[in-house]
């Protein structure tokens, strides 16, 4: 098999990694924000529930969560209900990453000095105005580095989806390995390096854009 054929097949399977990546990013960020508000809520049941969720998601292996989400519905319904492999994978990643994101958001929001909110209040601003016009950008500035860390980890984690037999890039490379071709497995690293190279550039540029204030 020629280099270009292998390359093409790996690239096609890497699309699945990318798909999980983008779905997770688009859904887990807003869900994480909602969760962070939940965990900071003064309504005890809501904050306890949010924190229990975060605890469960952060304390068990993502691999196990993938298995539970993919196999459990079928197990409970004797095979009647089953999610497709990709749906289950995306769902597991979204639910898991939302927990991590929510803690980053919480840290970012609580890190803005209380005086900022009070200054807005005494100037007659509404709660919404204070959040949108004062707090939000300061929170974003604070969370770009830790969120960046998670994003870089996320694309690498997507390979865990091969645990529920999603044919992502590592799974594809292992197939080549079964046919006595070991180099494609090593070569997959290039895909991740290029992807995260672009991500790193974008993150640096975002940090740069927000460096005009302290």
């Amino acid at each position: 098999m020629s280099f270009s054929t292998v390359n093409l097949m790996l690239a096609q399977s890497f699309l699945l990694n990318c798909q999980i990546f983008f779905v997770t990013l688009i859904l887990a960020l807003p869900l994480g924000l909602v969760l962070s508000f939940g965990s900071m809520s003064r309504f005890r049941p809501l904050s306890l529930l949010s924190r229990l969720y975060i605890y469960l998601m952060r304390s068990t292996p993502l691999m196990l969560q993938l298995a539970i989400i993919y196999y459990l519905p079928g197990f409970l319904s004797s095979g009647q209900y089953m999610l497709s492999r990709m749906t289950a994978a995306c769902l597991a990643f979204v639910l898991n990453y939302a927990a991590y994101f929510s803690e980053i958001f919480r840290g970012g929001i609580q890190g803005v000095p209380r005086g900022q909110q009070e200054a807005g209040q005494v100037l007659g601003m509404t709660k919404g105005q204070i959040f949108r016009k004062i707090t939000l950008l300061q929170v974003i500035k604070r969370i770009v580095p830790p969120i960046g860390n998670e994003i870089i980890t996320l694309i690498k984690d997507t390979s865990l989806a091969n645990f529920i037999m999603v044919k992502e890039i590592i799974a594809m490379a292992k197939d080549f390995g079964n046919r006595a071709m070991i180099w494609p497995l090593f070569y997959t690293g290039v895909f991740f390096l290029i992807f995260n190279g672009v991500v790193t550039l974008l993150l640096n540029r975002t940090e740069q854009k927000l460096s005009y204030f302290r």
Binding site: E118, A119, Q121, G124, M125, Q138, F213, R214
Partner: protein, 244 residues
Amino acid sequence: MLRDISFSLEKGQALAIIGSSGSGKTTLLRCLNFLERPDRGRIIVDGKTIFDAADLSTQRESEIRRKRLHFGLVFQSFNLFPQYTALENVMLAKQLLAQERSDFKAKKKEIFDEIRRMAEELLCQVGLKDRMDNYPHQLSGGQQQRVAIARALAMQPDILCFDEPTSALDPELTGEVLRVIRSLAERETTMIIVTHEMAFARDVADRIIFMDEGFIVEEGPAAEVINHPKEERTRQFLAHFSNQ
């Protein structure tokens, strides 16, 4: 903790509140600005009761936001918004408030031009004509505090409160801030100033309140309280300053 605090302030007068840390001075200002809610008591401005702990109808969240505007507050730690320039800091709240005007859509440009003109004027007034486009982190503490004063003035409060406005500043920077407050007093701005600067309090304030452990211990014309305190506790407190 505040106990039995009661005082009145005439329009155009400056009141200084002195006393050791923990005596309740800051809490008092925070009550006036609705940052803390007193369990008992009333706040009356211009003959109108704007807060009454015994009357829930004066405590609606939606109205409190408007009522806050009777008072302005300059914080000890400035609390400028870091992502906005000095000018934007002064304009922001006024611009947001203008959006609630019924003629906002029709006259947006004129309204914003007017707000900008007013903000620029205020920054000139506090001596920051050349610093309008600087971000807070590019300004010294004294300059930041002067922006904060302009920002509070922009809302045209009936009463402007200062919470130890020079306590976070290097000694050589306090002068510029005190000069601005002094000039406000000369223009008969109604003010309540919590301060540790005794000489300044005596010179600028019309009246002085000395507080201790949540009580008003002594109240009177400024020079009298500082130069001839009646109460023993006031004398003890003031002695710390003459020793320095």
